[in-house]
């Protein structure tokens, strides 16, 4: 295997990165800290979508899970003053419960049933939320006091911890036998079945893991943002963002969703200023271009086109 950098300098880089990430909030101003938190949150969504995609399933309704996480922790705070950290956890757990229900119904069928059901699920939650305002707060939304009394540095560490947990989970999946099961199911479900892998069970498991982190992200969002409305947290934009970021970066890799998220967020920040309505047109364009011209995303482009340029001299066979 060709490496651009040796093992030793790789470790030094990692240590440097960790130190940098840890001390980052001490040196950055408030705006950049806020942007970083938003990017970390999006990375969690991207990586957890990718976990499910490893089994070949396309969720077009991550907003349903995100919104449930957001509302669970916000409403639990409002009703019983549950501490935000516990509320966020509750949001994750509730999302898992819903994922099990939807998963068992649809994941035994062809993939398209799952995609259709998830997209309808997120929309249905928005309808329910608008129709029972006494419980949900309706279109007016729900507000909560600022997370950690508005201390952005503590919020940064919390979202960093969740992100680390997600990355570690993806890494563990890659190292474990789950990786083989997921890949086998993605490549050929019938063959996987013959090999003794129960496709439905593994697909539901992947959906549960994905839902848990998406729910956590939702919970964090509601407390950090202090205010949520159904149109936003259950909106199609959230579901689309969840899938565009990892696809752009490169699927089934640890780094792909991370890189994809950074780039998509940068593009979005730029367009938000120039195009008031419809800046999400970039999401659609990215999807079309990636599927047509760079099926393995940026990571694939790097491996196939750019990395060989550097390695031309040293590469042997």
């Amino acid at each position: 295997m060709n490496r651009l950098i040796s093992g030793k300098s790789f470790i030094v880089l990692i240590v440097l990165a960790v130190v940098l990430i840890f001390f980052y909030p001490r040196v950055m101003d408030s705006y950049f800290l806020h942007l970083t938190i938003a990017i970390f949150l999006a990375m969690i969504l991207a990586s957890s979508w990718d976990i499910l995609a490893r089994t070949g399933q396309v969720s077009v309704g991550q907003a349903g899970l995100f919104g449930i996480g957001a509302y669970a922790s916000a409403l639990l705070y409002q009703w019983i003053h549950l501490p935000p950290v516990l509320g966020i956890l509750a949001g994750g757990i509730l999302a898992v419960i819903l994922a099990v229900g939807i998963g068992y119904l649809t994941l035994r069928l062809r993939g398209i049933y799952f995609s259709i059901t998830t997209i309808a699920f997120a929309e249905a939650l928005a309808v329910i939320w608008l129709m029972i305002p006494d419980i949900t707060g309706g279109a007016m939304g729900v507000s909560t006091p600022p997370l950690f009394g508005g201390n952005r540095i503590l919020a940064y560490y919390l979202i960093l911890a969740i992100l680390a947990l997600v990355i570690m989970t993806v890494w563990l999946i890659e190292k474990s036998r789950l990786n083989f099961a997921f890949t086998a199911i993605r490549q050929n479900e019938d063959v996987a079945n013959v090999m003794g892998i129960n496709p439905t069970r593994y697909k539901v498991l992947a959906f549960m893991i994905s839902a848990f982190f998406t729910g956590l992200a939702g919970g964090f969002y509601s407390h950090y943002n202090t205010y949520i409305i159904p149109y936003e947290v259950f909106g199609l934009n959230v579901s689309i963002a969840c899938l565009v970021m990892p696809i752009f970066g490169g699927l089934y890799t640890i780094l792909g969703p991370v890189i994809g998220t950074i780039l998509v967020k940068v593009i979005e920040e730029f367009l938000r200023v120039t195009v008031p309505y419809g800046h999400q047109i970039a999401y659609g364009l990215i999807l079309v271009v990636v599927v047509l011209f760079m099926p393995d995303g940026l990571i694939g482009l790097w491996k196939k086109r750019i990395k060989p340029l550097f390695l031309k001299k040293s590469s042997v066979g």
């Binding site: 069928l109 689309i240 419809g278 047109i281 364009l285 990215i286 079309v288």
Partner: protein, 293 residues
């Protein structure tokens, strides 16, 4: 004591809206049946049809029921273009890529519409918009009645096209088995192109109908495609009788919920999801269909 008049009225309203739903879903069914693709951008083709009818009416004063044919032709060309430049290159890819591509197109057109025409809800008011037809105890809005009749005509035309004409029969053959069709000399790629074009034309015509009875706004296609997906599942993915049956079930259920449940018209928006889940629990292959799961 059952109020028969309101029961009948509600049933009739449900059947009328079901006609529109069928027109909305038929193109989706055709592409799925022939090409094996669930076109997530189908709703956006309808949205484009609705906008073209709206602008033809507003700028040139052409009645939407006449411009329906124009919208259909326009969307036929847009559809064949979309097929040739985006879908054709990836027809042999895994189904995942086709899903993601059409989803990307859907997001692209939604946002393009927002950029071009803002998020305003637009309506067409014709000279006959307010008229209604009285039949004893029940009555119909004239526009709804006309959209229903045109939907029926579109359905009949599609069925005749598929069963009586040569390209239509080729589509049926390809939907059964594309390798065998190729072996007996059917140009499969041309058949795909035509099927996608016809489906887009149907979407254009359906869009013109939509512009007369609903608001036209950038997300209208997305809202309709959710209903269409539900109809697809009820009907058992990709056959025309199933689509008609599914449309009736959804239209009538929505109408009854709107009439008999407090604040029902708000809940009616969520009915398609509830129906979807119920079907997946009791009979995931669809109530009408016999296709494999």
């Amino acid at each position: 004591m059952v109020d028969w008049a309101s029961l009948l009225q509600s049933l009739a309203n449900g059947i009328l809206i079901a006609g529109l739903y069928a027109a909305v879903t038929l193109g989706l069914t055709l592409v799925l049946g022939v090409m094996g693709i669930v076109n997530f951008a189908h709703g956006e083709l309808i949205m484009l049809g609705a906008y073209s009818s709206f602008w033809l009416f507003t700028l040139l004063g052409i009645d939407p029921l006449l411009s329906l044919a124009l919208s259909g032709v326009l969307l036929f060309f847009i559809g064949t273009g979309i097929y040739r430049f985006t879908i054709w290159p990836i027809m042999k890819d895994p189904p995942l890529n086709q899903l993601l591509l059409t989803l990307g197109l859907s997001i692209f057109f939604q946002n393009l519409a927002m950029i071009l025409w803002k998020t305003d809800s637009r309506t067409i008011i014709t000279s006959y918009s307010g008229m209604s037809l009285d039949l004893g105890i029940i009555h119909f809005g004239l526009t709804r009645m006309i959209t229903f009749l045109i939907s029926v005509v579109l359905t009949v035309l599609l069925v005749v096209f598929l069963s009586k004409t040569k390209p239509g029969r080729a589509m049926q053959a390809v939907s059964e088995n594309n390798t065998a069709s190729w072996l007996i000399g059917i140009n499969v790629e041309k058949t795909y192109l035509l099927a996608f074009g016809v489906a887009a034309a149907l979407a254009g015509a359906a869009g013109a109908l939509v512009s007369t009875v609903m608001y036209t706004f950038p997300m209208v296609g997305f809202k309709l495609s959710l209903k269409a997906f539900c109809i697809l599942v009820i009907g058992g993915l990709g056959n025309i009788p199933g689509t008609l049956f599914g449309s009736l079930i959804l239209g009538i259920t929505e109408s009854f919920v709107g009439t008999y449940i407090p604040e029902g018209s708000g809940w009616a928006e969520g009915i398609s999801f509830v129906l979807l889940i119920v079907i997946l629990i009791i009979k995931p292959t669809g109530l009408a269909g016999t296709r494999r799961e």
